[in-house]
């Protein structure tokens, strides 16, 4: 079956790819575009390791078809840093030891940024519920929440 040509913007760059109608955006990112920062932890929207934003909205890329990216803007973990300048979330995750194995970290960073973009001063509870769609099995979430809190504070200072 012939594939579909999709024209989209990924991390600000105009991008084109060909994919089958049934491929997920996650499969396209990883297997066709080499953007392996988004991970498949479950493939069914339960773990958030594949989180990206689609036109600024946080979504699980495993539940979006690749063809749906047509004409839209996709942002992945690879686009979070600005060149070699880390986003404060990224530096705070390292500083606060908010990662151990790191497999869930890209998803958490994307989800945390989506939270702070819409709510610059979240309470602990708001942080926890906003990140409930991202599973971490290593940290118990403690240092992740602290890192997000610290970042919210840092960003408000600017």
């Amino acid at each position: 079956m012939a594939g579909t040509l999709v024209s989209t913007k990924i991390n600000g760059d105009q991008t084109e790819f060909v994919c089958q109608a049934g491929e997920t955006l996650l499969e396209v990112l990883r297997n066709r575009l080499g953007l392996t920062g988004s991970k498949e932890g479950c493939g069914t929207g339960d773990c958030g390791a594949c989180s990206v934003t689609l036109d600024g909205r946080l979504v699980c890329s495993c539940l979006v078809l690749g063809v749906e990216a047509q004409g839209r803007k996709v942002n992945t973990i690879e686009g979070l840093a600005d060149g070699d300048a880390l986003h404060p979330l990224q530096s705070n995750f390292i500083k606060h030891a908010a990662l151990q194995c790191g497999i869930c970290t890209p998803g958490f960073l994307i989800a945390s940024k989506a939270l702070l973009d819409r709510n610059p001063n979240p309470t602990d509870e708001e942080i926890r519920f906003a990140l409930a769609g991202n599973l971490c099995r290593c940290t118990g979430y403690d240092k992740i929440v602290r890192a997000v809190k610290a970042t919210a504070k840092d960003l408000r200072k600017r």
Partner: protein
């Protein structure tokens, strides 16, 4: 003495600080490469066909249609994995678990596999494979499997550890016994005896990264395997053995690992990927789906445990016993044995006896899960300890303090303890502010103790000093949570140089001698010890170079604070030579400067913990929430305190999930009902409070820095800590884990009746 393992107290400069980890940048930018993050030109996609039946004879597998499908390059069955195990029982079990031979033994057991040019073709091919099954009766419950008429899971397994040797096969694979003294006399001498039985359901390690590998085998018998694993050397040995390849010709490179917790210490589908690649003569990428991870890898045991404790009114335990029945899935294991070893390890007992039964059922092959077998035993024992304390009207912490093991105690599993942390953690809990905090409405508090041993094992480390004085530390133990940072700190400490000058790499199997896997909390302990010895080995060489440069005897040279110094009045004119200077001069003094160490790290220290937990229970629905949690654990020496805290918190979170919601649910036909994160309910961020930690440091006398492995113990106490908290708030003794709301509700109503 360079390889002296004895602990020596000292002021640390690098060890104990909290620098950023070296792999952090890659992990926060998505650059780090995990098992599924690599691609090979011409690669094929591998997929595995798995039995939907819990127990069935495989009468026939017809792969002809699949083989003819355009784009399919290889189809394999057990025929492509001939038995080369040469009588090695454990290896044969691994072979049979990788791919079923004549019988499917659990829902999810691999029966065939394909490699095709893309995933849709591979999926089509799987559908074209025709397997003819003859259903057999199955058994999934550990107690049911021990009954005389239970379906037999493995006709080749005869019970070990019983006398006389049995004549018929059994689902009881092994009976093991630990203890000392005379429990019968002890129970007779008791004022109060409490007996209770408990059940815990099966849980999975739940690592977020599914198993994945890229295998490439050439017709010349050389192969490469990129794989997410806790032990690439072990994987190499096993895969080579199963495929009839020579160990040195199979190079295994470990990717970054997205969680393991014991579940990535065994091969699962890696031999299949290699066999597919060999048959197709092309690289094969094989990724497990989440469904396959739950059905077809190695969860922990479900158990059934009977506990009996006798005590005098003054609080002294007179006797303690336990019968522990653990299922290991369809293959024999040592799970009940480990449970029987750890059950009473926290206590100083004159009379103790534990008997473990390792039982076979039609479930996946059990693998280690963070302090394997200890959490279930601890649930049973620590719950009963609270019951006993209540019977004699004693505070549960004081009761534990009165009976705690200490230096000189003969442990229930055999060895005599050196200096240990159980007493100190209990004392710390007793005075912790958490114990005095006021409880809110519908809230209760519980505490519990836990124990885990740490293993040592084969370890090999290279330390190479670059010509600019920066150091490359090459290790073979996988970094599961920050070890590269800790090992770099250790190297920096020994050499007296900044942490930033050390780069720690985990190398492939072609570049270093054998390293055992990262399990048994051995990573930082063993590679840490090996790093110290490799550094000391390098220091010997550095001192020799300085001596040569100065033309003085090497015995007059000492290494201190990153410099070689000539000691003694007669050498006082000689200025010290820094590591940088010696490195810079090395091409002229004898070439590259390096240190090496290969050891079997011994003297691992045991690690004890005590946890405090507050929970809130909705009185009408039994919805349960953990509102406060504190971990107090002995680390021996915390090399990087952030990562030690992280281990404490992570283990506690897993224990909490297991205590409240995580379980494998099988239906009547033996099929797993919840092989996904929707209904296998691990804690989400909003389920947990901040987890407070207190690191105690009672140095391990058998490690130069006093390090004890810390990664595992913290999963041991939570089940009972929560059970004891539930007892406090709801007045019911929960005996079935997970203590989910329907079970709590039922227990409360039965109590009211």
């Amino acid at each position: 003495m360079a390889n002296d393992t004895k602990f020596r107290n000292r002021q640390f400069k690098s060890v104990g600080t909290r620098p950023p980890r070296p792999d952090g940048l890659d992990k926060v930018t998505g650059q780090a490469k995990y098992g599924a993050d690599t691609f090979a030109p011409g690669q094929l996609i591998g997929l595995v066909l798995r039995s939907p039946h819990a127990h069935a004879e495989i009468k026939r597998i017809d792969t002809s249609k699949a083989e003819k499908l355009n784009g399919v390059k290889a189809v394999i069955t057990s025929k492509d994995l001939p038995d080369l195990t040469n009588g090695d029982r454990d290896l044969y079990d691994t072979l049979e678990n990788c791919m079923a031979r004549d019988r499917a033994l659990y829902d999810g057991h691999a029966v065939a596999a394909v490699a095709a040019i893309d995933a849709p073709t591979a999926r089509k091919a799987l559908k074209l494979i025709r397997v003819t099954y003859k259903l057999l009766p199955h058994v999934t419950d550990v107690d049911e499997a021990m009954k005389p008429n239970a379906p037999l899971v493995q006709p080749r397994v005869y019970t070990r550890g019983v006398s006389p040797k049995p004549k018929s096969p059994s689902n009881v694979a092994k009976v093991s016994e630990f203890g000392h003294g005379d429990v019968e006399a002890g129970f007779k001498a008791a004022d109060v005896v409490v007996e209770k039985s408990y059940k815990t359901e099966q849980a999975h390690q739940g690592y977020i990264e599914p198993h994945a590998c890229l295998a490439s085998v050439g017709p010349d018998g050389h192969g490469e395997l990129w794989v997410t694993t806790q032990g690439h050397f072990i994987y190499r040995n096993t895969c080579a053995a199963l495929l009839g390849m020579e160990v040195a010709k199979l190079k295994v490179t470990s990717s970054e690992i997205g969680g393991g917790f014991g579940g990535k210490t065994h091969v699962w589908m890696e031999p299949i990927a290699l066999a597919l690649s060999r048959k197709a003569n092309r690289p094969v990428k094989l990724e497990m789906t989440r469904d396959e991870v739950f059905r077809s890898t190695g969860p922990t045991s479900s158990t059934s445990i009977d506990v009996k404790i006798g005590v005098k009114k003054n609080g002294k335990i007179t006797a303690a016993s336990a019968h522990l029945r653990y299922q290991g899935g369809a293959f024999p294991g040592n799970w009940a044995l480990l449970g029987a070893m750890t059950a009473y390890a926290c206590y100083d007992l004159k009379n103790v006896k534990t008997v473990g039964y390792d039982v076979l059922v039609n479930r996946p092959k059990v693998a280690a899960y963070r302090a394997p077998s200890a959490p279930m035993a601890a649930f049973a024992i620590e719950s009963t300890i609270n019951e006993v304390a209540a019977e004699i009207g004693m505070d549960p912490v004081d009761f534990r303090i009165k009976n705690a093991a200490k230096e000189g105690t003969k442990s229930s599993y055999g060895p005599t303890y050196g200096p240990i942390g159980i007493g100190p953690t209990l004392a710390a809990v007793k005075k912790h502010p958490h114990m005095r905090a006021k409880l809110g409405k519908n809230q209760g508090r519980g505490m519990a103790c836990g124990f885990w041993f740490n293993f040592g094992g084969e370890t090999c480390t290279d330390l190479n000093i670059g010509v600019d004085g920066t150091v490359t530390l090459t290790v073979g133990t996988i970094d599961v949570g920050g070890a590269r940072a800790s090992l770099s700190l250790i190297a920096a400490e020994e050499l007296g140089i900044p942490y930033e000058s050390v780069k720690c790499n985990i190398t492939d199997t072609g570049s270093l001698g054998h390293n055992d896997m990262t399990d048994g909390s051995r990573g930082t302990f063993s590679s840490g010890m090996s790093t110290i010895f490799a550094a000391r080995n390098a220091i010997e060489e550095l001192c020799q170079r300085a001596a040569d440069t100065w033309e003085i005897p090497v015995k007059d040279v000492v290494w201190d604070d990153g410099k070689a110094t000539a000691k003694g009045k007669k050498h006082k004119k000689l200025k010290p030579l820094s590591l940088d200077e010696l490195a810079g001069g090395s091409p002229n003094t004898g070439g590259p400067i390096a240190g090496h160490s290969q050891i079997v790290a011994d003297g691992a220290g045991v690690s004890f913990a005590s946890h405090i937990c507050d929970i809130e229970v909705d009185p009408e629905t039994s919805a349960t929430k953990v509102v406060r949690y504190t971990v107090v654990q002995d680390a021996g020496k915390a090399i990087h305190p952030d990562y030690v805290e992280g281990q404490f918190q992570g283990g506690a979170a897993q224990g909490i999930g297991w205590a409240l919601n995580e379980e494998y649910i099988y239906d009547d036909s033996g099929r797993l009902q919840n092989p996904g994160f929707l209904d296998y309910r691990v804690p989400v961020c909003s389920d947990l409070p901040f987890i407070d930690t207190q690191i105690l440091e009672i140095p391990n006398p058998n490690h130069p820095y006093g390090i004890r492995g810390v990664g595992e113990t913290s999963i041991v106490p939570p089940l009972a800590a929560i059970g004891n908290a539930l007892s406090d708030v709801a007045g019911v003794r929960m005996t079935h884990v997970p203590m989910s709301p329907p079970r709590i509700r039922k227990a409360i109503k039965e109590n009211q009746a």
